[in-house]
Symmetry: C2
Amino acid sequence: MKTHNCGELNAKNANQEVILAGWVDTLRVSGKIGFLLLRDRTGLVQVFLDKNLTEKFKDTRRESVVMIKGLVNKRPENQIKKEMKTGDVEIAAKEMELIAEAEPLPIELDENSTTALDKRLDYRFLDTRRNKIQAIFKIRSTIYKALVNFYDKEGFTIINTPKLTTIGLESGAESFVVNYFDKKVVLAQSPQFYKQMFANGGFDRVFEIGPVYRAEKSHTTRHLTEFIGADFEMGFINDENDIMDMAEKMMKYIIEKVKTERKDELILLNIKLNIPQVIPRISIIELKKILADKGKKLTLDDDLDAEAERLIGEYVIKEFGEEFIFVTHYPVKVRPFYHMRSDQKTTRSFDLLFKGVEVCTGAQREHRLNILQEQAKEKGVVIPKIYEDIFRYGAIPHGGIGFGLDRITQRMLNLDNTREAVLLPRDVERVTP
Amino acid sequence: MKTHNCGELNAKNANQEVILAGWVDTLRVSGKIGFLLLRDRTGLVQVFLDKNLTEKFKDTRRESVVMIKGLVNKRPENQIKKEMKTGDVEIAAKEMELIAEAEPLPIELDENSTTALDKRLDYRFLDTRRNKIQAIFKIRSTIYKALVNFYDKEGFTIINTPKLTTIGLESGAESFVVNYFDKKVVLAQSPQFYKQMFANGGFDRVFEIGPVYRAEKSHTTRHLTEFIGADFEMGFINDENDIMDMAEKMMKYIIEKVKTERKDELILLNIKLNIPQVIPRISIIELKKILADKGKKLTLDDDLDAEAERLIGEYVIKEFGEEFIFVTHYPVKVRPFYHMRSDQKTTRSFDLLFKGVEVCTGAQREHRLNILQEQAKEKGVVIPKIYEDIFRYGAIPHGGIGFGLDRITQRMLNLDNTREAVLLPRDVERVTP
C-alpha cells in the first residue's frame, strides 16, 4: 500500500512522488499549516501539510494510522535536520487519508516517558512503538540471527528438542507441571539432557534456541519463569578449553555483527560495543584470592555471589581492558553431577561473566558411565535410565554451554532489568498479556 | 582431539599424518588384517589396520568410539571407491586407541534396518547415527537457518513470544493446562495473537520460530502435540496477495538454499528439489469445480479434505508443472473470525499446498475493530479484551502465515510420517524420551 518507507527517504528521492503509510508520531499545527512526523518500522520523516489538509486532519490523534501521497523536497543546506536520518528532506503532502483512528493512549509514549515498567508491559505493543524500545528488539533479533549463522558456519546442526518432557537433570522442585491427557509431564528446565543426547547421537555439534522454564519463586530483576535459552554442545574435545574457544569466538562474532548491522540502533541507545580481544580465563581459586584482597571473603567451596561477580567485572576491565572473563575450575560442590572433574574438588567447568554478571555456564561433561554414576550417587541424584543409556553405546568426550538470549541482550545494552530485553516477560506475578 | 574430520579427507591430504576420532561404523577382518570404516558427523573414511592393530582391536563393537593416528594414502586410480566421498584415500593406521566401548546395540543401525519407528524413537540418539537419518536433520537445520536469514533480509524482526499464556484465539478445548504457582495457565496453541500484537506494535514485520502446542487426541501421521511453528505477520499490505508474494519468495529461497548447501544429503536421500517458478493462485471455488469433474463432490462451504488436497496436488503438477499451489478465497464457514472477508461468504485467506498436502495457512487479518467484533459475535467467539486493544490505537492493514517446520521438511523430503522430521516427536501416546 506504500511505495516507500518513511525512514529510508533522503535527498536522492528529491522530486519523486511517494506514497507513505505509518503512525502519526506528532502533528504540530502552526497557524494554518501543519507538520506531521510520520513513523514506520524504518523511522521518521517530516510531512508538510498545507492549509486544507491541516484543517481536515488537525485533530488526528497520536498513533493513528495515515496514508500520504506527496512530493519529496530537498531541504536547503541550512535547514537540514541533523538529528533525523531523513533530515535532508521534507514531504509536501498532496493527499492524506486516515486509515485507523487511535483512541486516547493508555500509556505515555514520549521519549522521556515515566510510565512504570509494569504498566508498559500491560501495553507492550504500544511501548514498542517507541524508537528506543524497538531498537532493543531489533538488536536482539540480530543477535538471534548471528547465533544461527555462527553455529551453522561452525558445523553445528540446529535442533529443536521437546519442552514437554518427563525427565530433567535439574531439581524437580522447580518444574512446571503440565496436564498431558491422563498423565502429568513437566516443562523442560533446560535442553541439557537432549543436547548431550544428540551430540552423542552422531551430530557431534548441536545448537538450539528455545524456551526454558523455571518455576522459581524469585522476585529479582534477573529471574524469569520463561526465557529463551541458547545452548550448544560439541564433541571430540580435548577439554573445557575447546568449549571456551567456541564461546569466545561466538561472542566476538555476535558483537561484531550487531556493531555492523545495527549502527543506528546503537546510536539511539547510546551504546558503544567493544569486541573482546582475548577473554581472560582465570580460575575461581585465583579470583577468590583477589577478592579477599578487596575485602570479599569466600571459602573454597563457595559459589560467587552477585557482589563477587561485580568485583571480578571491575577487576577484569582494569587489568585486561576486557568486559568478559571466563571464571574456571568451579568447585565440585556448586556444580551438577554431570560436570567432569579435574580432581576430587574441582570441575572442568566455567562461567562467562559479561560486565560483571554471569551470562553463561559451561563445562566438559562426564561421558564415562561408571564415573558419572559415582558422581550422581555422591550428589544424591538418581540418574534416569534414558540418560544413562546415552553413555552405553559409544559416548564421545563432549561439553557445551547454555545462556539466555535475554540476558546477553540486557548486558550488551546496559538495561537495568532483564525484562527490558523480553517482549512479554513471565515471572511469579505476571503471565499476561 | 583430532586434526581432521573423517568425511573431509581426500587425495589432497595424501601423505599427511592425521589424527581422527569417530564411531566404528564397520570393522571387517580379512585374514590377519582389518578394514575399519570410521564415521563422524562429516562422513566415513576407510582405515587400514595392520596385523598388530587388527589382533588388538578385532572384537571392537560397532559404535564404539576410537581414535586413530595414521597416514593418508592415495588409492590407485582403479581402486577408487566412487560410492564414498572419501573414496580416493585410505588411512594406514599407525596407532589406535579405544575411547569408549559400545555395549551391544538395542536397535539395528544398518542402511536397510527394519526396526519399527516406535522403537527407533526410543533410541533416537542411536537412530540418528545413521547417515540418512542425520541427513534429514541437517537439511531441517538448513531450512531453519534459511528462514532466519530470509526474514531478516526482508526487514522482519525475529521475536520470541511467550508459550505460557492465559489467552488463545483457537478453541480452548485443545489447550494443555499448566499449573503456574497458584494459577492455571495454558500452553500457546499458536503465536497468532502475539504476532498480530507486535506487527501492530510498530515492528510491522515480525517472524517467530518456536514450539506450538495442540492437545488433540489425533492418531494420524500428521498430528503432533508439540511442533515447531514458523510464523510471520506483516503490515501495510494491500491485500492477501502481498502475503502470498512473501510466502512464495520464502519458499523459493529455502529450497534454493537447501539445494545449494545440502547437495550430499539430497543425493543420499535421493531427493531432487524443484524451485517453484510461479506458484498458481486459484480460488477454492474454481478448484471445487475441477474436483467435481474428477468425481470429488464438495459443497461451497466445505473445507478440503486430504483426498481433495491430493487431487489438487496432481492437478497443479499436471497443468502447471508446479508442486505448490495457493488455494485462495476459503469460505467464511471454515476460517476463524479474525480472517478478513472479501464478501459475506468469502475470506481473504489461503492455504499453501506442497505436493498435495497443506503446509501453511495464511490470510489478511481484520484490523477494523467494529467489523472484527461483528465477525466474532457471528462465530460465537468472545474476544479477550487484550486482543481487542490491539485494534484501538492505530491498527494497520496486516496479514501473515503460519506453518510447521516439521511438515515442510517432511514434504520436501517425501517422508511418510511427520515424525521422521522431528527428533523426539510428542503425541497422545509418546512423551519420552
